[in-house]
Amino acid sequence: MNKAGTDIQIAICGSAGDGTIASGDIMKRAAALMGYNVIAFDVYPPEIRGFGKCISRIRISSQQAYSLKEQSDILISLNDSHTIPHVGEVRDFGAVIYDDHLVSTVAEGGHISAHINAAQVPYGFSIRQISEQATNSARSRNIVILGYVAGLYDLPNEHFRKIIEAKFAKKPQAVIDDNIKAFDAGVLVGQAVFKLDDVVVGKAGDEATGSKAVMMTGNGAVVRGFMEAEIQSYFGYPITPATSIMERLAVELPPAGGNFLQTEDEISAIAAAIGAGYTGSRAATATSGPGLALMAEMLGLGVMAEVPVVVVVSQRGGPSTGLPTKTEQSDLNLAVFGGSGDAQRIVLAPTNVEGCYRCAGMAFDIAEKYQTPVILLIDLYLSNRYETVVPSVEASFAPKPREPLKLEDHQPYKRFKFTESHISPRALPGEAGFMHTITGLEHNESGRPNDAIHMDMTIKRHEKLNTAVNYPGLNVHKRFGDEGPVDVGILGWGSTFGEILETMYEAQAEGIRCAAMKVVMLSPLPVEALKEFFADCREILVPELNYEGQFAGLVSAALGKPVTRLNRATGSPVVVKEILEEVRRLSVQSRAPLSAAE
């Protein structure tokens, strides 16, 4: 956080089936309703069934926050064996809340209280017992703990009740009543406890804004952007962490008059989407790295045949099946370069949930304007991350009416005509007088196979994308922090940029002249903007979540300049502390006098 105010992070940890994620969901939505800015991220096990670990982390701030914090202020355990490894993530004088009434005897160290250090504040109470007393069932433990937190930290109860009622609205009234009873019982216990930690929950930013704020995940924002852009066709095959896009569209798209089809695999999905795109339908698919690998060949067809289509790629740990429920940014090379031939396409990488909404909303326009596939490259951390977003009233992603094509006198229609902008007039199949051929073979202006013109056509397909970096209304890059020359510039993309921004503010607070730049358009790269940024920075640091430093490599190759890489492939988001340490080191290095030899 760069400004004073409420800024706490709550982590709820339990086993699959404990209601951990549901509990975190209510907490984050209630906090948003109170007017706080919320960023949240859930981690759940790869197993579909079983008792794997679930963690919901929720950062609640009265000011804008950009990432989750490294340390939580409050940790709540619904399952000690899963939570014990995370006790060390609680800051000094923060709180650890747990059940002090186990159902069976455990050996020494089996209870979480054995792992709480002397600087952390333990709060034990009979979570199970309170749940059973309130509802005759232990199933409401996850709601009891919410009440306890609300009571202990004096949070307004009515917001929680409202969210609980909404969450269980489709259930019988008795379920709603029981959950409210469990919440109220937790409140009473929490209110009776003397608070010993130093966690302060101050006033929210603006409750009026809170009532307008929408809590969305990155995937949810993509769907919202798609729907506002009036997507017409979606074809998909489920894969973590992109599946929720498909699930939401399966519910929302058909009633809106769109086509939804779950295909037999990813190849079919992209083929169908390209087919729909060819007909003029706003078409999309979503997948993850392994799915993108399968789609690579068909994407080449989209490039060659100049068909607009939108492909969302939510990255996870790879290669192969890899780490299905862990995050990584290692599909950048595949997204930018994957496939055969010189197949440049547009790749957009939003850095936060609002960015997902805006990029998804504009992706169809961009794909249609440049007549090419657009890849929306996000990752699990952004797909599943919740943020409060106040929808922009001025944003409109609806398609603009197509201007009818005019045939030039006595000229046959040339679908791939060479033009000054390198963008050809695009007719949809079936338009009278505009009959044409498209093919995956190299072709002439009319679309007929022709290999003699390959060089010219390759230039056309590349050059037409040159103006994309100036696409109106889309921040394809943005600089933050100190103006003019700085000691350290941090360059970032995708979900990592939140941590980069937090780092930059911390570095500035330490007196380091620092700036940060996010690059949203990875292909084509905004080279001129990057050159200006490089010129201002003595040292450039590129943190990213892959081992190879794929973005660093991309930028270095484009600018011919070296950068310092900070590569992490741990399956978890990069941590501010690590970036900050590197910024400090580079800051000192940037001020060191050059040696005589240099």
Binding site: D92, F93, D99, D100, H101, L102, V103, S104, T105, V106, A107, E108, G110, H111, S113, A114, I116, N117, A118, A119, V121, P122, Y123, G124, F194, L196
Partner: protein, 342 residues
């Protein structure tokens, strides 16, 4: 390589804390686990009246910062209540159903405030001063300039009474046999001490047995203590300071000798060779008097904790004390007690 010896200490007061520190100093490799019901690391209970002088951050009260426990390798288990000790299996059972095995056990559980039997049903209407939280609740509930009614008035209660007077509150003392405990005072000394208290502004009721406590449900700070003669003493908070009673219930299955406290040898060892005791929880065999005796006051308690730790590490030292036990009123009318010297 064998496992290091595991010392478990029940209690984190002066005795327990002193013992833990001494154990570490005598054995760098042993495991030390300190189990306490308190929510905080060690602080001196006699500092609690300082909350009325503005000391509201518990971190300022600590004897050592929290990092000390990590540095010393002392595992501090807070909010953990011992419900049972199995002396033969050498197992401590905690209320949340965790078993902790030990090689040596030191019981420093201290005591809880004694409440005259006829007042036990009113315990829920009274405040306490047994922990930082209790002190803060009293501070929160007692209106500024309000009146605290103190039943008994042992030396912790008298200390609180004097602090309250100094900080703008009123104090009513309903004296009984435990007033000035653990000092044993003569009738003359008692009269002189009451005179000094009265001069400072304390309203003293002598020889009046309290029989009940009431509190206005609507105005929780409106309290009343009913005396045996029908007198009703009004105030804003009621506290009982009638000395301590040892906390030994969890030791009933430990196969150790218990009277009012745990009975220990002059080396502070119980009848079970792996269990030791120190502080207000134990009665030490006095060879000359041929009786087991309590030794109260933090100085005694600290000495006992450190002695027990040395003996647990192989020494054979015998408890000895030359700590003064004196209370009096000086020329300026100030009450002085060796109990308060720290």
């Amino acid at each position: 390589m064998s496992d290091p010896i595991h010392h478990v200490i029940i209690g984190s007061g002066s005795a327990g804390f002193g013992a833990a520190t001494t154990l570490r100093q005598t054995d760098a490799d042993c495991r030390i686990t300190m189990i306490t019901m308190d929510g905080l690391p060690f602080y001196h209970r006699y500092d609690l009246p300082q909350v009325f002088r503005g000391q509201h951050d518990w971190r300022e009260l600590l004897d050592e910062p929290p990092s000390y426990y990590d540095e010393m390798g002392i595992q501090l288990r807070r909010r953990s209540r011992v419900v049972d000790v199995d002396g033969s299996k050498q197992l401590v059972t905690l209320a949340h159903q965790e078993n902790v095995a030990y090689d040596n056990l030191l019981v420093c559980a201290g005591g809880r405030g004694y409440l005259p039997e006829n007042l036990t049903e009113y315990a829920g209407l009274m405040h306490g001063l047994g922990s930082f939280e209790a002190a803060m609740r009293l501070y929160r509930d007692l209106p500024k300039g309000g009146t605290a009614i103190i039943i008994g008035g042992d030396m912790i209660g008298i200390d609180l009474a004097l602090t309250l007077l100094d900080t703008g509150y009123n104090v009513t003392l309903i004296a009984n046999a435990q007033t000035f405990w653990p000092h044993e005072v003569s009738d003359d000394e008692r009269a002189q001490l009451f005179k000094a208290l009265t001069a400072k502004g304390v309203t003293v009721f002598q020889d009046h047995r309290p029989v009940g406590v009431s509190r206005d449900d609507k105005n929780k700070s409106a309290c009343c203590v009913m005396l045996e003669d029908g007198t009703e003493v009004a105030g804003d908070a009621v506290l009982s300071f009638c000395g301590l009673t040892s906390s030994v219930e969890f030791m009933l299955k430990a196969e150790v000798d218990i009277e009012r406290g745990l009975l220990v040898t002059p080396e502070l060892q119980t009848s079970n060779k792996t269990i030791w005791a120190a502080g207000d929880v134990c009665q030490i065999w006095h060879d000359q008097e041929k009786a087991y005796k309590f030794y109260h006051g933090w100085k005694h308690v600290r000495i006992m904790g450190e002695l027990a730790a040395r003996n647990m590490s192989g020494a054979h030292e015998i408890f000895y004390t030359d700590v003064e036990d004196r209370i009096g009123v000086d020329a300026n009318g100030q009450i002085n007690s060796t109990f308060w010297t720290h």
